[in-house]
């Protein structure tokens, strides 16, 4: 069994069989991670570059750990200045890296489309680790893995993505992936944070969190990113918390099981109250562990393709 595409650029258009294969493979790696010796020699001799144009310690560490567990050689290239300001063009940087004969590039960038562009100028397998407000496919996969672990299925599940959907790369990857797997996806947030016409992606829109909680089994709660100008679209964090924050009062009112996901890092007291962030409903730390397993699966499947 192998994937139908030698890159992972996003979950848009990725067939169900591919997602299933990644999730199944991740399950075997999840078991490896429970062993005393957590390392397998699968990608020995492969060189992987983590090309991070945007600061994201969590994602980078998760990828790095996945690479180490698979015995790959890893090179980190991180910069927070864009090529536009740096003088050297992005293309030149990539050509340089390419000349070092790398096998895979994991890329994080402020601009949507950079992973696609990389496939044109590099021979390596490209893995998108987040491009602008476009996609973050491994996050989408690990969210799906975590949901499936909890419910044993994805088909027919009702999942709501809560928060600044318009400026989130996690939202789109979740929408595409979950819909392919047969889940019912909705979004909830203040209207300034929901892109116009998102219904045409086949998702339902809620503007009241209580309604969203009454109708869904899973809430994937996004981080309110002040660095993405979220402050311009809501009057205050306090108001956001009051009307869209997930609190234990709200959860208990519904008297049924709701699973809470969050891609981290959490703004406590904004999108989640502290009791919820630490409470029995969340699977946030499982997500972190699952993230390593899912990334191992993606690296393994792409790295051993012919």
């Amino acid at each position: 069994m192998s994937l139908s595409n030698r890159h992972l650029l996003g979950l848009h258009g990725v067939p169900k069989e591919d997602i299933q294969l990644i999730l199944e493979t991740a399950r075997t790696f999840r078991e490896v991670l429970e062993r005393p010796i957590k390392k397998v020699p699968t990608l020995q001799g492969k060189t992987i570059v983590n090309l991070f144009y945007e600061n994201s310690t969590r994602t980078r560490i998760s990828f790095e750990l996945a690479q180490k567990r698979l015995s790959a050689d890893t090179i980190n290239f991180s910069t927070s200045t864009s090529s536009a300001k740096k003088g050297e063009t992005f293309k030149d940087t990539v050509r340089n890296i390419e000349a070092m004969k790398v096998d895979m590039i994991v890329v994080r960038h402020q601009s949507a489309g950079v992973p696609q562009y990389l496939t044109k100028i590099s021979k390596a397998n490209i893995i998108n680790a987040g491009d602008g407000i476009h996609e973050h496919p491994t996050q989408g996969l690990l969210d799906m893995y975590s949901i499936r672990e909890k419910f044993g299925r994805l088909e027919g599940l009702k999942v709501c993505i809560v928060g600044d959907v318009a400026h989130s790369r996690v939202a789109l990857s979740n929408i595409f992936g979950l819909k392919t797997m047969g889940a019912e996806v909705s979004v909830c947030g203040p209207a300034t944070m929901i892109p116009l016409g998102i219904e045409s992606l086949g998702v339902k829109v809620y503007h009241r969190i209580d309604e969203a909680m009454a109708k869904n089994e899973v809430l994937n709660v996004l981080r309110i990113q002040l660095e993405r100008d979220a402050g311009k679209r809501i009057p205050s964090l306090r108001e956001y918390h009051k009307f869209f924050g997930i609190t234990s009062d709200r959860i208990e009112k519904h008297n049924r099981e709701i699973v809470i996901l969050h891609p981290g890092p959490i703004n406590r007291g904004v999108e989640l109250s502290s009791e919820v962030a630490d409470g029995p409903y969340q699977v946030i730390l499982d997500q972190v562990t699952n993230g390593v397993a899912v990334r191992m699966a993606v690296l393994y499947l792409l790295g051993t393709m012919h």
Binding site: S83, A112, V114, H134
Partner: protein, 429 residues
């Protein structure tokens, strides 16, 4: 030197002229139309032009020549060469150079640079100093030096009070204010806002960012009475606003670019930065509205917004890449392919949009096809099928999304200022 245009279809809506005839040009002047003798034929270079059209020279009123300041991207000379190759005998160049065209010296500098060329270059000067939108440029002085219009293109005149003053002051000499209509508080994005931008994860620029300014400018033109020209109209509602304004007799005119009547925002799906421009490519609905606007006369002319960019700048990540594409060498081919072939415009209307209306808007003499008149002519083969090849462009830059596109209709020759561009060469006639 004597040139004969043999059996060419002469087209000029201004003269209600549509006839097949022979035309003799001597020393750059039209000497005879019909009635050519054996001796004429023996002593002239004869261009066989069966099934070709000849009209007053085409004029592109929206061109960025980049000189002074970015001579690595384009110069007055290379831009003029591109214009000649594309079928134009005149262009108007926008003032966002470095320094801006906001002083008489820069106007004269550009005029001087272009004085020996086949292609006439008419500078459009900045409406405000440094295009900052704060204080009026020395408009009268600029007009006297040769500026034919005023514009802060690249940006809008943000302050309505300044726009009022610019429009009012321009009435002194009857020049239009050319507006790049964009409310910048709404346009912090990299492509058209809509389904495709959501799918691609790119921040969007909504139509309304254009519409609001078009509406404001129309109301201002109605109030002040000056002439407003809407540059590169791209949105359906803006076309309708101009249509209604014209019905009311308000002095507003508009241009559309070939890319806005040819492409939609779906092209951005490849993240190719040659599809990044401002205003952005819109939806099919907008494309259809622009085509209809051209057909019914709401949109007066076709202008390319020719915007050369260096390869290394255009090859950047999508959100960082500069806006704009080349236009001069594909404009005529796209217009014939997308508008004439699809029966939206007749060839006569095409001449109106390319040769007559832009000059009228800028108060420039419209060349006539009659004996004694200086020959200022474009000769087009409306049915030639050809493939765009950017590597053969005369422009110094290469940023065109139309490379390798199959087009119908191409310029054969242009004649102006005692020169002819024919078979890839300039010759003095």
């Amino acid at each position: 030197m004597k040139i004969i245009l043999k059996q060419v279809r002469l087209l000029n809506p201004e003269q209600k002229l549509d006839e097949k005839n022979d035309l003799l040009i001597e020393d750059g002047t039209i000497k005879k139309i019909g009635g050519l003798t054996e001796t004429d034929f023996k002593s002239s270079q004869v261009l066989e032009l069966e099934n070709k059209i000849c009209s007053p020279g085409f004029f592109d009123m929206h061109v960025h020549l980049r000189e002074p300041g970015r001579e690595d991207e384009e110069t007055v000379e290379t831009g003029s060469n591109a214009a000649a190759a594309g079928g134009f005998t005149g262009v108007a160049c926008l003032p966002n150079t470095n320094p801006d065209i906001d002083s008489a010296e820069v106007v004269r500098f550009i005029k001087e640079k272009s004085k020996d060329h086949l292609v006439d270059v008419f500078p459009i000067a900045a409406a405000t100093l440094g295009r900052k939108g704060e204080a009026l440029s020395p408009m009268y002085e600029l007009f006297e030096a040769g500026a034919v219009a005023f514009s802060d293109d690249g940006t809008v005149i943000k302050n309505a009070g300044i726009l009022r003053n610019a429009l009012e002051y321009s009435r002194n000499f009857g020049t239009p204010i050319i507006e790049h209509c964009e409310d910048e508080s709404l346009s912090d994005g990299a492509m058209n806002e809509g389904y495709t931008s959501t799918l691609l994860g790119l921040a969007g620029i909504p139509n309304v960012a254009e519409d609001i300014i078009v509406m404001r400018d129309i109301m201002m033109a109605e109030f002040i009475g000056g002439k407003v020209h809407i540059a590169h109209i791209s949105s359906k509602n803006s076309v309708e606003l101009v249509r209604q304004a014209k019905k009311k007799g308000i002095k507003v005119t508009a241009e559309a670019t070939p890319h806005h009547f040819t492409l939609t925002d779906e092209s951005v799906k490849t993240y190719d930065t040659n599809y990044k421009m401002n205003p952005p490519l819109r939806t099919q609905e907008d494309v259809d509205a622009i085509r209809l606007g051209l057909k019914d006369g709401t949109i007066d002319c076709i202008a390319s917004d020719h915007a050369p960019h260096a390869i290394e700048e255009k090859e950047m990540e999508f959100i960082f890449a500069p806006n704009g594409i080349l236009g001069l060498e594909t404009s005529v081919g796209l217009a014939i392919t997308e508008l004439v072939q699809k029966k939206i415009l007749s060839l006569m209307q095409l001449v109106e949009k390319f040769a007559i209306n832009p000059r009228k808007i800028l108060n420039i003499h419209v060349p006539q096809i009659k004996v004694g008149e200086k020959a200022n002519l474009s000769i087009i083969d409306p049915s030639m099928i050809w493939t765009v090849d950017v590597s053969k462009f005369k422009s110094k830059s290469k940023n065109s999304p139309f490379d390798q596109r199959l087009l119908t209709g191409k310029s054969i020759a242009v004649i102006n200022n005692n020169k002819m561009f024919y078979e890839d060469k300039f010759v003095t006639i």
